[in-house]
């Protein structure tokens, strides 16, 4: 386990490093001069120069890169020119909101997805099954910003059940979380359904039947335990997906998370914030993956470190 973790950590470091480099390069490849955004269109050339040197924008790229890496080692990702203060602090201030949203979406996905999947697996080929399998495809096809607005119009404007914006009440998370999770609910339901059917057709289920175990017990205990493994893996990935996909939903719902921060930072060429935000997302993705690997070990008795 220890060795396995070490190996995974080493991989994670490589991945994080690669992601960092990628952001660094690509952010700087995007045309648009942050200095001009900082000082506005009326600035003189001298003024631009001084801003550039303040933010280290006049150094050669490799130098900036080295400084950047050095900064990361010290936990310093630079300052946001736009928001003031450390980019990392700005990002971390926003992270809990994104996490809340992602978690809420995860809870919705799991609750609805697993229930639907299990129901479909009990009666494959029946109406519910067809509706869910077709619906899940359609769910992935709906642009989330469109869905978000439609939901707002429906539940906030016409029915007035839920707030349209973040008003501090727990109900405010429902619409964005649902919008975020919809494409994945059907997807998870399908995964659960097909795993349940696949597992249910395995010999061990027949063995349990031969022992006289009732069908419900077989599905939820015998099969359920085995489905847990693919499902848990998927949940970690889902969580990562949610954090990343929150970008658009946060904009639609004015959710004060890391996604809307990042869109704003990209538009305004606030390099430090873009880097800090992407680093945060990437790291959380990596950590989630590690977590999933560990959980895997805990719930799947078959695995040994050599399976890693």
């Amino acid at each position: 386990m220890g060795a396995f973790l070490a190996k995974r950590l080493a991989q994670a470091v490589v991945v994080a490093f690669g992601a960092l480099t990628l952001v660094f390069v690509i952010v700087r490849a995007v045309p648009g001069d942050p200095a001009k955004l900082i000082v506005g269109p009326d600035a003189s050339a001298g003024q631009l120069e001084s801003v550039r040197s303040d933010f280290g924008l006049d150094d050669p790229l490799w130098r900036q890169y080295v400084d950047h890496l050095g900064g990361i080692v010290r936990g310093d990702l630079g300052d946001s020119w736009r928001l003031g203060g450390s980019a990392l602090t700005n990002t971390l201030d926003r992270f809990p909101a994104t996490l809340t949203l992602a978690l809420a979406a995860l809870v919705l996905t799991v609750a609805i997805g697993i229930t639907l999947g299990m129901l479909c697996a009990r009666r494959p080929g029946k109406v519910l099954d067809l509706v869910v399998s077709t619906g899940s495809l359609a769910g992935q096809a709906i642009p989330s910003f469109w869905l978000g607005i439609v939901l707002i119009l429906l539940f906030a404007r016409h029915l007035d059940w839920l707030p349209a914006t973040v008003d501090g009440s727990p109900a405010a998370v429902l619409l964005p979380a649902f919008t975020l999770s919809l494409p994945f609910i059907g997807w998870l339901a399908r995964l659960v359904r097909s795993s349940a059917l696949e597992e249910g057709a395995k010999d061990y289920a027949r063995t349990a039947r031969a022992k006289g175990v009732p069908e419900g017990t077989i599905q939820y205990v015998h099969v359920g335990r085995n489905i847990a493994i693919p499902v848990v893996t998927v949940l970690g990935l889902l969580m990562g997906n949610f954090i990343a996909n929150a970008v658009i939903i946060e904009v639609v719902f004015s959710w004060p998370g890391i996604g809307s921060l990042m869109v704003d930072a990209i538009t305004n060429r606030d390099y430090a914030v873009v880097e800090a935000a992407i680093l945060t997302i990437t790291l959380s993705y990596i950590v989630l993956n590690l977590f999933v690997d560990v959980v895997y070990f805990v719930i799947d008795p078959r695995l040994t470190p050599e399976d890693a």
Binding site: A3, F4, K7
Partner: protein, 361 residues
């Protein structure tokens, strides 16, 4: 095959010579970082002469397939040499090796997985000619395929079929036709008939025997089915945990087994004809050790009814005693069967699950 050989006279030269072969796999080590070598084949010497059938028998996991795979070059040996027709395959370059490739073919256990399900029978059979250009002119492929299919007892009209339209026995025939297409001198058959039903198995065994008769092919035949081995083998090698523990002609090994493992194997094998007699049955206890951590000394000692102190310290070599070529790797191989039997009987008392069962039975 001894019983039916009618073909060309057997040249006494060794076609395949395996010396001190170590082969196997690397697996992630305990630490998960460094990889560890597992010698699934640990020091095997074996010779196959032209036109001869050599059988390797042994329990699952003893390294039979590993041996076969290193012979045909699918696996790089860790140590030792495999030389075919005088060419040392391990030291040969890719080109040299390709030159003997057609002389050395293999038939796999599962006819369905060893043939590409997406190809037509004709393409499967002709694939070798496309790789080794110049052996059969492209224009002659169709005719040659038809001839080969006829040779293995398939109607040439099958050339255009796909595998899923064929039965297991027919697939195995295609597999054999494919191996024969390059006119090999040695065919390695790894459990080539194990997946087949008895009646089909008999058809294929007959076919192999006929081909040997007609074309003088040598077989390295791997099986765990003793009935089959006894029927076709010129020579038998019994394998246990990566090593050969006994070798001899079929008559020698089956009629006068020297190694306790051979005896156990023979008595455990189900047979239609001789019902086992629980009095003479040699029951093995314990589990097969992993090739990753073989026991010290004699590899069989952990399950051996005859095991003594010497077995733990000293690995018995594969030694021939006195007359003939019938070596066995056992410290007690020289002792008569009676002595062995009494030792075995004594060991039965010695604890273990099996003993408990025996009493109940």
């Amino acid at each position: 095959m001894s019983a039916t050989r009618t073909g060309p006279p057997v040249a006494d030269a060794a076609l395949l010579r395996i010396r001190g072969l170590h082969a196997g796999y690397t697996v992630p080590g305990r630490s998960g970082l460094r990889r560890r070598r597992v010698d699934a084949v640990a020091g095997v010497d074996l010779t196959v002469r032209a036109g001869q059938t050599v059988c390797v028998v042994g329990e699952s996991g003893c390294g039979k397939s590993t041996l076969a795979r290193s012979v045909v070059g699918l696996l790089e040996p860790f140590a030792g040499s495999v030389s075919f027709a005088g060419l040392d395959l391990a030291s040969a370059g890719r080109r040299q090796r390709r030159r003997v490739a057609h002389d050395l073919q293999m038939v796999f256990q599962d006819p369905y997985t060893s043939l590409n399900p997406r190809m037509r029978v004709a393409d499967i059979v002709a694939e070798g000619w496309r790789i080794h250009r110049g052996r059969v002119a492209p224009g002659d492929h169709a005719a040659e395929v038809a001839r080969l299919l006829g040779l293995v007892g398939l109607d040439p009209s099958y050339a255009g079929h796909r595998l899923h339209e064929l039965s297991g026995g027919q697939c195995q025939r295609v597999s054999i036709a494919r191996a024969l297409a390059l006119r090999p001198r040695l065919v390695v058959c790894d459990e080539a008939v194990s997946a087949l039903d008895v009646s089909v198995r008999a058809q294929i065994l007959n076919l192999l025997a006929d081909l040997q008769g007609e074309l003088g092919i040598a077989y390295l035949f791997i099986s765990h089915d003793l009935d089959v081995v006894r029927h076709i083998a010129d020579e038998v090698a019994v394998m246990y945990l990566g090593t050969i523990v006994e070798r001899g002609t079929a008559a020698q090994v089956f009629g006068d087994p020297q190694h306790p493992y051979t005896r156990a194997l023979l008595s455990a094998a189900p047979s239609v004809r001789d019902r086992p007699d629980s009095a003479t049955e040699v029951a093995l206890t314990g589990e097969v050790p992993s090739p990753a951590a073989p026991p010290s000394g004699c590899r069989f000692r952990t399950r051996c009814p005859l095991a003594a102190d010497v077995c733990a310290t000293e690995a018995p070599g594969l030694r021939a005693r006195g007359d003939g070529e019938h070596p066995a790797a056992c410290h007690f191989a020289g002792q008569g069967a009676a002595a062995a039997a009494s030792a075995e009987a004594a060991s039965v008392e010695a604890a273990s699950v099996e003993a408990a069962e025996e009493k109940q039975a």
